[in-house]
Symmetry: C2
Subunit: 342 residues, 2 copies
């Protein structure tokens, strides 16, 4: 492939002149420019951005590390990131960590070597160490979705506590008192906050928290299925409603209820955090996050930190969550509706 030197030779100028034409920097005589442009065209010259990056100390690449691109929540977020980056002339390297700290570590090492300009990170397992590792090397990071304890870092996330509170309250208002919470590991802040919202709403209604109604599995369909099977077998009396802490758990729960022949909402109500994407005739009442916006604003923040427009800090951007009422909740008729305590 032709290099800048070849173009220079063909145009009868020095390489630096070619560089100036390409980057539109400095003064160039019209005629010289034309000669150079013609040589570029004839040779179909394409500049090598590796060398440019080496000089500029800027690669125009950012890394996006999510847990699993297969989850539509992350997919849509990824799309938001990508669209924001394209506007800013950045490319995105995609990494799936599968919530695995080791996998995450490997990726970070490679990406640090690659001189990635910045990281958009969903820290696997909510681990703070990774964030520090990146920051120590002076590379900007924006954390997405989760809070990490003990680190100063900018975060963009959804209002997990508020959304969970709203969903739980929605059930309480409709007479539900035994509400199972099927969640994932509380090592992740979103699980903690969703549980906090759940407990806050129950407390307001004077309902004691029953640990027997709470399960922690993994944010996956199979885990949701198992937790539901197990919950229906062991929780006694059976809960009148299930609150699943993410969309995959919800899918698993619905499948389990279907297999058990328990009808929703006639026999049990179901609400979930996260929208259920691609559903034909969606019918579950959910607290929907805005993953596209989440990705977009995180990417924009990262880019403006990279460009120096904004300083890195410890912002905590919390995007609102929307309650979408559908048909998966039954109002319990025979229970006296207790007013909230407040």
């Amino acid at each position: 492939m032709p290099t800048m030197r070849d173009v220079a030779k063909k145009a009868g100028v020095a390489p630096i002149t070619v560089s100036r034409v390409i980057n539109n920097s400095g003064y160039i005589r019209e005629e010289t420019r034309r000669k150079v442009e013609q040589a570029i065209a004839e040779l179909e010259y394409v500049p090598n951005s590796l060398s440019q990056s080496l000089r500029f100390k800027k690669t125009n690449m950012i890394a996006l590390m999510v847990s699993d691109i297969t989850n539509p929540f992350w997919t849509t977020l990824t799309r938001g990131v990508e669209d924001a980056c394209m506007g800013g002339g950045m490319n995105v390297i995609l990494c799936n960590t599968d919530e695995n700290a080791e996998k995450q570590e490997n990726y970070i090492n490679v990406l640090l070597q690659r001189q990635t300009d910045g990281f958009l990170l969903v820290p696997a397992g909510g681990e703070p160490a990774v964030v520090k590792r990146i920051q120590k090397r002076g590379v900007p990071v924006v954390v997405i979705d989760r809070q990490v304890p003990g680190v100063e870092v900018d975060i963009v996330r959804s209002d997990s506590e508020g959304g969970a509170y709203t969903l739980t309250r929605h059930l309480l208002e409709r007479g539900h008192r035994r509400i199972a919470l099927l969640s994932f590991s509380i090592s992740i802040s979103t699980a903690r906050q969703r549980q906090a919202g759940y407990e806050k709403a129950l407390a307001e209604y004077g309902v004691a928290i029953d640990p027997g109604l709470i399960r922690h599995g993994r944010p996956r369909g199979d885990s949701g299925y198992m937790m539901t099977m197990e919950a229906m077998a062991s929780m006694n009396p059976r809960p009148t409603a299930i609150f699943t802490a993410n969309n995959f758990i919800a899918i698993g729960a619905l499948n389990a209820l279907h297999d058990l022949g328990i009808r929703v909402p006639e026999e049990i109500s179901v609400v979930s955090f996260d929208e259920m994407p691609y559903a034909t005739e969606p019918f579950v009442t959910v607290a929907a996050q805005a993953p596209y916006e989440l990705g977009m604003s995180a990417a924009q923040m990262l880019m403006s930190i990279i460009s120096g427009e904004e300083a890195p800090g410890n912002r905590d951007i919390v995007l609102p969550v929307e309650l979408i009422e559908r048909r998966s909740v039954m109002t319990l008729p025979m229970v006296a509706q207790a007013a909230p305590e407040e």
Copy 2:
């Protein structure tokens, strides 16, 4: 950040010696190695792969260009690519083309400049020109999902014709004769081949192709919705079955039928190409592709072409498609079952 030079100084050796330690190349005295390793550890030195890439003329990055990462089909394929690449020490740059040739062109320019080692390409709109453009620069390409006319290139795709044939035949065997085909633009080879499979099955059963039963929209939910609305209003007599050419069209079609109050399968049968992911209680009979495997084998082929193990050529790898029977097809009782012609 410390460079190799800093490490060398600290260890009291020449940079090249540090390089040899890092790359484990050439002979190094044990003691020297130890000194260098200690200096690396103390300085927390991380090699700059930009420089390595510049020298080696190899970036260990490949580009994956799909139409829209938001579609679970591409998502799962992406996951397959990513997993294969991780095994091969490659990173993936992700690009959404939205079937937009201009967007695709921009990406390719940038990625060519970045010295991307290879391209995994779902050519937007089935356009062959892009492929040629990349090949001309000597960069390996593997095309995914679609055939492109007039280009010698390796392709990994699913058996669109076979899958469509099987699905249509499945309907014919159950007495259906008026089968609507809701598809997307025939500028894309998969749409052409699915239609060919559909027509082949009809021909075998001696059913004349009725152009009035065929619609071409876009492979998206809204388009599937509109095509279905329009089809139900205008096709007369109404078809007894609908064959949707991809998953998003199917979702749109099911929503439209739901809104029209037309029950599936009681009043109309529905089959679709592509699995319907994340469905709670999936009930549509489909011809399922294997997107993960598609991505994985395309990535593996690309990597082995990049490494020189295999030569680029015009392989046409066709992965089988699986018929998954569910509950969306009704056997028509009153129609005499005509035997196929063959």
